[in-house]
Symmetry: C2
Subunit: 350 residues, 2 copies
């Protein structure tokens, strides 16, 4: 493992994406979304994905120079047509529209159609907390999850994320996949040749498996049966059916399906805390809630009770200070890419 | 099991609640909320609860003649101070305010403070679908759930509900407790002397138990560890911290704690589909999504793949037609109550 500064990785990613003809500002938005995920420890959604994203852009399946159009049927609502842009580019426009609506009306919501994988959902929710807002983000993935009671894939692992400000604590941030485990963890286990725990997945014949390769070819299981399945369907409805983008099996797997655009949708909602309570009062109550949680006696084998987003928050502080650690399995493909593009590889800080 | 018509049970419940001095319209709202739960098969939240609610009103811990005040800090937002009203009374005022805001602005949200247990969460979300809306409802319960990583209760089983219109299908409706199982199921198992499955609960020393009585005195476990725990905390934040009502352990158990008002909060959000897409188009896309789900091959031992709310929807159609079945364990206390109040017991249809 070597460590890299946030700005070095951001610059590297920006150069990579700009090499496809993407405007520099868009390349920077995409690169920032990936590095933000790394900063918070969500390394499955970080710079490791640059080569695969580039491959898809180069295959003509993501539009590096989209003409993104927005409309606003009602003052609070925004519809973004991504024109097959990189996910973070279309998503950022939608989140900004929500923020503007929240600034004037107290609330804003946006759907995005014809977009692509937007990375880690919490990348879009956590920043809103600094502006005194609750933020929600969701986006359906390619079919990989067997709905409760079935043995065939229909939904993606469909992340649902919600964040709120937490006063002197780092933002409270829930970011969960509807599967028992995030697909990125299985992909990473496959890259590293590790087995996955039982109960995470079925092979393509519907039998339980601990082989990550078989799991990636097979089916993910929803968490808690009907509950995870219901959350996956909810995400499919708001960020697929309502968004006017792919739903119920239509989203293409950006990583392996090169037959057409992925047609990914997103849904965002941003709401001002002050629409209900002075922000200072809310934050002080959040501090009380978190303080009570952290004071609970830990379960056996647990060192400390933590709140959602706490570990990501402290990882972010640490990585801003001492850099983002990347292993050879991530660095090697990035170095190959750098050589190919004639740009400098990221330089480790130690 | 004998069957009763919806209107007979509603009238009976209304008379019971009116006996406490509650205005007839409020008594009717409460009774309807309970019967609506019965209609949808959520019998744990139905008329079986009348005696316990009456007991709490009579103990002076719920206000039968509240002065409920609403304010609207922003056009979309409503804050309801329930003045310790019955939950359905304060909740209905908040939902109606959300609906009015949605009619004019496309979206409305409301918090409720100083309320009481509001019954089944989907009672407040499903009706909004008939008005072309997505609706969200949540409300924290008394501490009974051990947050992930801890061995002490802090949150309730904190239901989260979301419903959307589904065209020719009955409404799509997710209504889930953050615990592995709803507390009402454990209470019912206790009433019926049945054991509960392992993994649902811990006894009050933190050991796994299948004894429902021990579970009720002990701790509920969140579904899927950190995920269910995160959903419970989310409900506690929006419908407790933000609502200005009890949070993080402060809500009193309406069933057993007679030391003061329960201080329950609620959060509602209602959003017009038409803010993003013509309703007809949305409904036709929902029909496609549900059709695809129902066409999936069922898992072994499963007869039919169903969508969230489907079983409740068909139970509702059936029960409207042939009546609501109630067993002796529910009827006996209702008959005792009827005798005491000098009113007629519900009359079975067969």
């Amino acid at each position: 493992m070597r460590r890299f500064t946030e700005s070095d990785l951001e610059n590297f990613g920006t150069r990579c994406f700009a090499s496809t003809g993407m405007p520099l500002t868009d390349a920077c938005v995409v690169s920032r979304a990936l590095v933000s995920a790394n900063l918070r420890g969500i390394d499955t959604h970080g710079v490791a994905r640059i080569p695969a994203y580039l491959k898809r852009i180069r295959a003509g399946l993501i539009n590096p120079r989209p003409e993104i159009r927005s409309s606003s049927p009602m003052p609070f609502s925004t519809i973004v047509d991504g024109d097959n842009a990189m996910g973070p580019v279309a998503a950022s426009i939608a989140v900004e529209a929500c923020m503007r609506a929240a600034d004037t009306l107290g609330i804003g919501a946006a759907t995005v159609r014809r977009s692509n994988h937007f990375g880690a959902a919490s990348v879009y929710t956590v920043p809103a907390t600094a502006r005194g807002c609750v933020a929600i983000a969701m986006s359906p993935g390619a079919p990989s999850l067997a709905p409760h009671g079935s043995r065939a894939a229909l939904f993606g692992t469909n992340p649902f994320a919600l964040a709120v400000p937490a006063g002197r604590y780092s933002p409270w941030s829930l970011d969960m996949a509807a599967s028992v485990a995030a697909r990125g963890h299985i992909r990473r286990a496959a890259q590293e040749g590790r087995a996955i725990p039982e109960g995470w997945a079925l092979d393509n014949e519907g039998a339980p498996t601990t082989n990550p390769e078989a799991a990636l070819r097979g089916l993910m299981l929803p968490f808690a049966g009907a509950k995870g399945s219901g959350i996956a369907f909810m995400v499919d409805i708001l960020a697929g059916v309502l968004a006017g983008s792919g739903f119920a099996g239509e989203v293409r797997d950006w990583n392996v399906d090169f037959t057409g655009p992925a047609d990914v949708g997103h849904f965002f909602l941003v709401m001002k805390i002050e629409a209900f309570m002075p922000l200072g009062q809310f934050e002080s109550r959040m501090e009380t809630a978190i303080g009570r949680l952290k004071a609970l006696p830990p379960a056996e084998g647990v060192e400390e009770v933590t709140y959602p987003g706490e570990r990501s928050g402290s990882t972010e502080s640490e990585r801003r200070r001492i850099g983002i650690p990347l292993g050879n399995e991530v660095l090697r493909p990035l170095a190959e890419l750098a050589a190919e593009l004639g740009i400098a590889s990221p330089s480790p800080t130690l």
